[in-house]
């Protein structure tokens, strides 16, 4: 049974829709990461999951119970989950008391509280700060206290909103380490919003991509990153080359796709005549100055239009009749003596091209 489910969840403020038709089903022990650009509705969704706001439509089911409307049921469910906000607020009291709040509200015994609070403060590396006034902590320290405060009640579901955004590197490492521990040792179910895709990829069992208030794709990390289903997802996960085309020939799963005045060979199940988008990651393209005798199925000849250094990498825009973005190391660029105007060959394996149906533009 899923631990958490949403059915057609909608949220709007003042007649404006922020979230539309969110359908999620999260299994126990799962790590579900919501990625999406800033302002896409990630925080709004997490707040609904924590039952801080009421949805304008749809249902929210926790532990098999519909908690959308009943206040006592919401309290009972909320005591089994915990939420770490992006900019957490600490109360005007010591670090220890901040972390102890949740336990005191659950009427735990004093000895139990001391033991649990100390152990969780040790876990986040804040035990030495236990008597400090929480209001005097830095951003990273505050976030660690917030994580401790959430974990001390041993929640079955942990909701996190950008837990490491804008933090110092030590706190980021510490928090990721703690999350790793929670996932592996405590088997806690995690729902985390982030715009840090590498973090999402590292931790997630499944990823949901949120664009403009909708979950546009849900899948395993490799599915999201290798086979984005829509143009928005493709753009968001760094598929910088999105080439509209049409399938003009098939040989098993190997298809020939006509793109501008060239053809691309790629693996797809779409039939002949289908309008598609070919997606190529800039780091999956290799450059040569002579036609390469490599295994790459696709080779495009073009001229360098622009070079932008992103040390140690360099981002090169090439005009092959269509624009192609390529990411290679500065060193290999220097080795080939690349410069603007120079003719190069772009090589892409058929397996590195993802094909999606062209229903969105």
């Amino acid at each position: 049974m899923p631990i958490l489910q949403t059915m057609n969840l909608d949220q709007g403020f003042g007649g404006r829709n922020i979230l539309s038709d969110i359908n999620l089903s999260i299994e126990p022990n799962e790590v579900f990461v919501i990625i999406g650009p800033t302002g896409s509705g990630k925080t709004t969704l997490i707040r609904l999951l924590d039952m801080l706001d009421r949805p304008t439509g749809g249902q929210l089911v926790f532990f098999g119970t519909d908690v959308t409307f009943s206040r006592p049921l919401r309290l009972a469910a909320r005591r089994r989950i915990a939420y770490v906000q992006q900019k957490p607020l600490v109360f005007t009291m010591s670090v220890f008391d901040n972390v102890a709040c949740g336990l005191r509200w659950r009427q735990e015994k004093k000895e139990v509280i001391t033991e649990k609070v100390e152990s969780v403060l040790r876990l986040v590396g804040m035990l030495d700060y236990r008597e400090r006034s929480a209001k005097t902590l830095s951003g990273g320290e505050t976030q660690r206290v917030a994580v401790a405060r959430a974990l001390v009640t041993e929640p079955e579901v942990l909701l996190l909103d950008e837990p490491t955004a804008n933090l110092d590197p030590i706190s980021v490492t510490k928090i990721e380490e703690v999350l790793g521990h929670v996932i592996d040792a405590k088997r806690t179910t995690l729902v985390m919003a982030t715009h840090d895709m590498s973090q999402g990829q590292r931790l997630a069992d499944r990823i949901g991509v949120m664009v403009a208030g909708r979950l546009v794709q849900i899948g395993k990390p490799h599915e999201i990153f290798m086979s984005p289903e829509t143009r928005e997802v493709a753009e968001f996960v760094g598929m910088d080359n999105i080439l509209p085309g049409i399938v003009t020939g098939k040989d098993g799963d190997l298809a020939t796709i006509s793109v501008h005045n060239s053809t691309i060979e790629a693996v797809t199940s779409y039939p002949d005549g289908e309008m598609v988008l070919s997606l190529i990651r800039p780091e999956d393209i290799t450059l040569t100055v002579t036609p390469a005798a490599s295994s790459a199925r696709n080779t495009f000849k073009g001229n360098i239009v622009q070079m932008v250094s992103l040390k140690p990498l360099i981002r090169i825009e090439i005009d092959c009749g269509f624009p192609l973005l390529v990411l290679i190391t500065q060193r290999s660029s220097d080795g080939m003596g690349l410069s603007i105007g120079k003719t190069v060959y772009c090589n892409v394996k058929a397996s590195a091209v993802s094909i999606i149906k062209r229903w969105t533009y």
């Binding site: 924590d50 909320r78 915990a82 939420y83 906000q85 957490p88 607020l89 005007t92 709040c101 009640t153």
Partner: protein, 228 residues
């Protein structure tokens, strides 16, 4: 000028020698103002929380009405209490008119709107995230309200002290419903007003100095709280 100076010296003498009448009046004034402030706070803190943390129709109107009552003239409250507790009034049988409890009741009526209004604005001044964080950490509504009051404690205390200041320095109402009866209902303010008109400057001054010192203490405390 000399008369005033002599009055001042004699007033200090009355305080230094712990004149029984001065002490008695001071003690009664403190008893009445502390009692009325306690009762008004016991009403205002829960009621203010209830109003702030609930959404209901007419909430804004209610808050405006409460704020308007901040500046209700004390004699109007005095009149109201007088009518209520006079022989022919609805609560006349309690025989409370011209007794300290009548003054306490009047002051409660006078300062409750003030404390209530200030408590509501103290809670409104609090970051919304305080209540949300508490709820999110599993607090019940009551636990959330208690935490919010704790987080706003300086503003809440300031509200109570403002109420105390008003009750303490109040004169019109105490005169009307207390009757300024010697040894029974005289307060610092009513005694000053009577003794001054009788020409008993030194007693008035002694009481005035005490009144000022206590008012000063209240203001210093209030300032400290508001600077937090």
């Amino acid at each position: 000028m000399e008369e005033i100076w002599n009055g001042f010296v004699q007033a200090l003498g009355l305080i230094a020698s712990r004149d029984p009448e001065v002490l008695e009046i001071t003690r009664r004034t403190l008893m009445i103002s502390v009692s009325s402030t306690s009762i008004a706070s016991a009403i205002s803190v829960p009621l203010g929380s209830l109003i702030h943390f609930n959404r209901f129709r007419g909430k804004r109107v209610l808050v405006s009405v409460i704020q308007t009552l901040f500046s209700v003239p004390t004699v109007v409250v005095g009149l109201l209490v007088f009518i209520t507790f006079s022989r022919a009034g609805p609560l006349g049988e309690l025989d409370l008119l011209f007794s300290p409890p009548a003054i306490i009741i009047g002051e409660v009526v006078l300062i409750t709107p003030l404390i209530l209004g200030l408590i509501i604005s103290a809670l409104s001044g609090l970051d919304r995230a305080v209540g949300e964080t508490a709820i999110s950490l599993g607090a019940t509504r009551l636990q959330m309200v208690l935490l919010s009051l704790r987080e706003a404690k300086f503003a809440v205390l300031a509200a109570v002290i403002m109420g105390y200041g008003r009750a303490f320095s109040e004169v019109g109402l105490a005169l009307m419903v207390g009757g300024n009866i010697r040894g029974f209902t005289r307060t610092l303010t009513t005694t000053i007003s009577l003794e001054t008109s009788k020409g008993n400057i030194e007693l008035s001054m002694a009481l005035g100095i005490i009144l000022l010192l206590i008012a000063l203490a209240i203001n210093v405390t209030l300032n400290r709280l508001q600077q937090r």
